[in-house]
């Protein structure tokens, strides 16, 4: 089956998400759609999948124009889609999930036997190792994704759309997925692979279509070099490495000891974590989503209910304080999801810029808001952070993702800070804004603020980090230097502690007592449980990135910028 998008244009009001896109997916082909976040890839696929109606242009199958009014039609035509967010019911079994909406019945009763057999057959053919009777919520993310793929294959999909499938996977799971994709292609399924990760794209694609600002800007083969691809993607040579001097970190502004967070269901989400962040230092937390990083940031600002352990900022205990009081002590917080936690969509830009500051003297006189001052403040922040908004009175929901994020960053960096905590600071943000936000974060560090960044993008971690912490299943796998190879971080993300990945991991200077007495593990507050510091390791100053093990595969690091 040949699938073609002919001159597809999709507009949302004045915004053109797709501009005369022409795309042909041949049979037996892995066709990659490469583009930055916000380039219009997902919009295009939603048009293809019948979720959006194109403003103009057509979708054609084997030369015949078709019109899908919804996913049902697309599925019937042999197009399957695996969304970034899985569409699975966690408490159902694999078979039930696969059968859902497609149930075969015997009289009034559900006939799952056929589905089970189909799952086994597909599973066997592609080596999926999926048990049809396993409950989905018990499965690892990578396997859940395979269930999604099975769902599409059971419905005889000939074209499979994978929307950012690797965003939630560990490096190993990613490699497995790439292998599966090749097998599917060899078995006759064509695949549309949406991604912005150059390494994966080059590894697996037959054809790469590069999209920028809604337009096709290039159609190349997988032999194209990463820097060429990156240049196509962003339209100019981009440097993801921020110019920054080594951190002059001494002492500890933030001291986290034995921090544990328990979820509503009694599951331990963060398990006895110890670390320090020095003033003027960026500690970047790497790890696959859902390994406790979100809970860590939320616990720091008092948003988690069941927290034990200690968090000290400049010697003052923060645990047990209300969020308002934590913020008042000079903590800036950028939550992971700006639309649900960071912004009030219906509020204006100006209002959002003072969301956690409306009681400050500059914005309120007694119980009364100083609307003039708030508007003025908004005007200057919008100018300083180059926030593109119709006006400061426009609802913030009408802004693009990048500009929304800039509103959050501007708000949180707009007051004197001792600690800046940012979770996924540039998710869904265009490249220009990413650079700008990174520069701002480094500038804040250089003011002497302790900075904690959580990011699932390794490129971002490398660009910002003075030290890198890796989390797995709520535990700290170790803290390593900024030059630790990608492969080593990948192993830590999959659950190997730092000391087994790297012979010596001298970057964890949790507790200055350790630095003073490197021979003792049990000094002061250190529990010795999660600290990967071997008893014999000498503590070098963090400003000298001279880890002997940290330079084994430097070429693999900055995908977006091989010249770095």
């Amino acid at each position: 089956m040949q699938l073609r998008l002919r001159d597809v244009t999709k507009k949302f009001g004045d915004f053109t998400a797709n501009d005369r896109v022409d795309l042909t997916v041949e049979p037996h082909q892995i066709h990659c759609l490469l583009g930055e976040n916000g380039a219009g890839k997902s919009t295009l696929m939603n048009v293809l999948y019948g979720l959006y109606e194109p403003t103009s242009g057509t979708v054609e199958i084997d030369g015949e124009p078709v019109a899908f009014s919804g996913p049902g039609d697309a599925m019937a035509a042999g197009i399957g889609m695996v969304h970034q967010h899985f569409m699975l019911i966690p408490v159902f079994t694999v078979a039930e999930n696969v059968a859902l909406g497609h149930e075969s019945t015997r009289g009034a009763s559900l006939d799952l036997a056929t589905t089970r057999a189909r799952i086994r057959e597909i599973s066997q053919r592609y080596g999926f190792a999926v048990d049809p009777d396993a409950v989905v919520e018990d499965l690892p993310v990578g396997v859940q994704q395979r269930v999604e793929i099975i769902k599409a294959l059971v419905r005889d999909a000939e074209v499979l759309i994978l929307d950012e499938p690797t965003a939630v996977l560990t490096p190993r799971e990613t490699d497995e997925l790439l292998a599966i994709m090749r097998q599917l292609r060899d078995g006759g399924t064509s695949i549309v692979f949406i991604s912005h990760k150059l390494r994966e794209v080059r590894a697996v694609s037959d054809v790469i279509t590069v999209i920028r600002r809604g337009r096709v800007v290039g159609r190349v083969g997988p032999e194209t070099s990463t820097d060429e691809l990156a240049a196509l993607m962003v339209g100019r040579d981009v440097s993801l490495t921020v110019d920054k001097t080594p951190a002059l970190a001494t002492g500890a502004a933030l001291e986290v000891r034995d921090l544990t967070v328990v979820g509503d269901n009694g599951v331990v989400l963060l398990d006895g974590v110890d670390f320090d962040v020095a003033p003027g230092e960026i500690l970047a937390v790497a790890g696959v989503q859902g390994n406790g990083q979100t809970e860590l940031t939320r616990a720091l600002v008092g948003l988690e209910e069941r927290v034990t352990g200690s968090v000290r900022l400049d010697g003052h205990e923060l645990t047990g304080l209300r969020t308002r009081d934590v913020l008042a002590r000079g903590v800036g917080f950028v939550p992971e999801d700006r639309s649900t936690d960071g912004l009030v969509g219906s509020f204006s830009v100006a209002e959002n810029l003072v969301l956690d500051r409306c009681h400050e003297r500059s914005f309120a006189a007694g119980p009364s808001l100083r609307l003039g001052a708030i508007a003025q403040h908004a005007g200057s922040e919008v100018a300083e952070y180059d926030i593109r908004a119709g006006s400061v009175d426009s609802p913030v929901a009408t802004l693009s993702g990048g500009n929304q994020q800039k509103v959050v960053i501007a708000r949180e960096l707009g007051r004197p800070l001792k600690l800046f905590v940012a979770s996924q600071p540039t998710r869904g943000v265009d490249v220009g804004s990413i650079e700008f936000i990174h520069e701002r974060i480094v500038a804040e560090r250089d003011k002497g603020t302790a900075v904690l960044i959580v990011s699932t993008e390794l490129d971002e971690v490398y660009a910002l980090a003075d030290r890198i912490a890796v989390f797995f299943h709520g535990r700290l796998m170790g803290i390593v230097g900024p030059d630790t190879p990608r492969e080593a971080l990948g192993r830590m993300m999959a659950g190997e502690p730092a000391e087994s990945v790297l012979p010596a991991a001298p970057w964890d200077h949790a507790g200055d007592d350790d630095a003073a007495a490197p021979g003792t593990l049990s000094g002061g507050t250190d529990r010795g449980t999660t600290n990967p510091l071997p008893p014999t390791a000498a503590p070098p100053t963090p400003s000298e990135p001279t880890s002997p093990t940290g330079r084994t595969a430097p070429a693999d690091r900055h995908e977006g910028n091989p010249t770095a």
């Binding site: 915004f15 998400a17 976040n37 916000g38 890839k41 997902s42 919009t43 109606e53 019109a67 899908f68 009014s69 039609d73 970034q84 967010h85 899985f86 699975l88 966690p90 993310v141 950012e164 965003a167 939630v168 912005h196 989400l269 989503q289 859902g290 979100t294 809970e295 600002v301 948003l303 209300r322 969020t323 308002r324 009081d325 008042a328 917080f333 939550p335 639309s339 649900t340 936690d341 960071g342 912004l343 009030v344 969509g345 219906s346 509020f347 209002e351 969301l355 956690d356 409306c358 119980p367 009364s368 808001l369 929901a397 693009s400 993702g401 990048g402 996924q424 998710r427 869904g428 699932t456």
Partner: protein
């Protein structure tokens, strides 16, 4: 965190993220546009007119020979509907057959009198809406406010001026306590405010009924469940002289509208309440206490409803009965809905509903049209206010089905 709640996505520059959309949809049902409100009223009036026409006796007679002279039926229909609405207008706004100017504008002052408790209680409901709470409990809050106001009014004997202030304060306090309980329980236990307010309405109603059986609340020499009349010093003075029932309670309603407008848009408390209503998660992340917001907004909502109870006791009824709140507490919900939960929208919606009530009586006595037709029109208005999202939904569905036909 499980995989199903994993990364919020890329490529959402174009359309706002799904959560935004959902929240927006929800708010639009509450707030929407003024145009929609006006349209809802107009369409409801037209349909109400049709209903008046088809239930009219003359119309039915004319319909008997419809095919011989259809014009008769149509003109009878027009006469029935228009005369009913004209009568309603005369009863609610301006009575041209009045002997004096005062007589002629008397209907409008009646409208404002009836609107007073509707506006006050409506503001309470609207304020709670804005903080994301569905306050069904205005009825109970009015009753408790009225009870306390009446008790202070007839059992305390204070000098003029001070007595009235005490009565107003007591009414406000009664309502605030009744609303505050809801906020507190919701904040502490997470119980749903709709259930709480509905149940507290029953508690309030039965509490009043029981109190009125006690000697201390019963009028001397009467076995009816009615309290002694409040002192003259506890009554709102008439606003336009003794000829009219309109009292200073209406001025209080105007003042309350101004106060609520200030609170919502120009105060830190209102800023936080609106944030809690629009996106509680973001509010919490910004250090705003959502639970405290619930308590504060329910205290204020109850206070406003309590003032409505005071207006009834001190303004028009002058004593406490179990029926003192009439159905104002429930009408207040529709008033707030029609007013799109804005202070001034609620104010004018309150006056409109006041006009329906005042005019409905005249309509029934002059044209014999059943007063229940007013209820029908009111209900239709609510229906049409709530309809737009339903309408968009229907359009989307029908569009989808045409597409699938094309595809087939």
């Amino acid at each position: 965190m499980s995989a199903t709640t994993a990364p919020a996505g890329a490529d959402q520059v174009s359309a706002p993220p799904p959560t935004e959309l959902a929240a927006g949809e929800h708010r639009r049902t509450l707030l929407g546009s003024t145009v929609q409100s006006v349209l809802a009223v107009v369409v409801a009036l037209v349909l109400g007119g049709l209903l008046i026409a088809v239930t009219d006796e003359k119309v039915r007679d004319a319909a008997g020979y419809f095919f011989a002279r259809p014009g008769d039926t149509l003109s009878a229909m027009w006469t029935a509907a228009s005369s009913a609405y004209v009568a309603m207008f005369h009863g609610a706004v301006y009575n041209p057959s009045g002997a004096t100017f005062a007589d002629r504008i008397y209907p409008f002052t009646e409208t404002l009198t009836v609107a007073t408790p509707l506006i006050l209680a409506g503001l309470g409901v609207a304020l709670a809406f804005r903080a994301g709470l569905f306050n069904i409990g205005a009825q109970g809050q009015i009753l408790v406010g009225a009870t306390l106001a009446a008790w202070v009014g007839f059992s305390w004997h204070l000098p003029a001026g001070i007595h009235l202030i005490a009565v107003v304060a007591a009414g406000a306090l009664g309502g605030a306590v009744w609303g505050g309980i809801v906020g507190l329980v919701k904040a502490r236990t997470g119980a749903h405010e709709v259930i709480l307010t509905i149940m507290l309405n029953y508690v309030a109603l039965n509490l009043v009924a029981w109190l009125l059986t006690l000697p201390s609340f019963q009028r001397e020499g009467s076995s009816n469940p009615i309290s002694p009349a409040v002192d003259g010093t506890a009554m709102f003075p008439k606003l336009l002289g003794e000829h009219f029932r309109l009292h200073w309670g209406f001025a209080l309603a105007v003042l309350a509208t101004v106060a609520v407008a200030w609170l919502l848009h120009r105060s830190t408390v209102g800023f936080e309440l609106r944030a809690v209503g629009a996106n509680p998660r973001a509010a919490r992340t910004a250090g705003i206490s959502v639970t405290r917001g619930f308590v504060v907004v329910m205290l204020l909502a109850g206070l406003l409803a309590g003032l409505a109870g005071t207006a009834q006791v001190s303004g028009t009824e002058h004593s406490l009965t179990a029926g003192v709140a009439a159905s104002f507490g429930f009408d207040a919900i529709t008033v707030a809905l029609l007013g799109r939960s804005t202070p001034w929208g609620t104010f004018f919606a309150g006056i409109l509903y006041g006009a329906f009530r005042a005019g409905g009586v005249t309509m029934q006595s002059m044209t014999g049209t059943n007063i229940d037709i007013v209820l029908v029109v009111q209900s239709l208005i609510v229906l049409f206010v709530a309809l737009p999202p339903l309408f968009t939904f229907a359009v989307r569905r029908s569009r989808a089905s045409t597409h699938s036909q094309e595809a087939a």
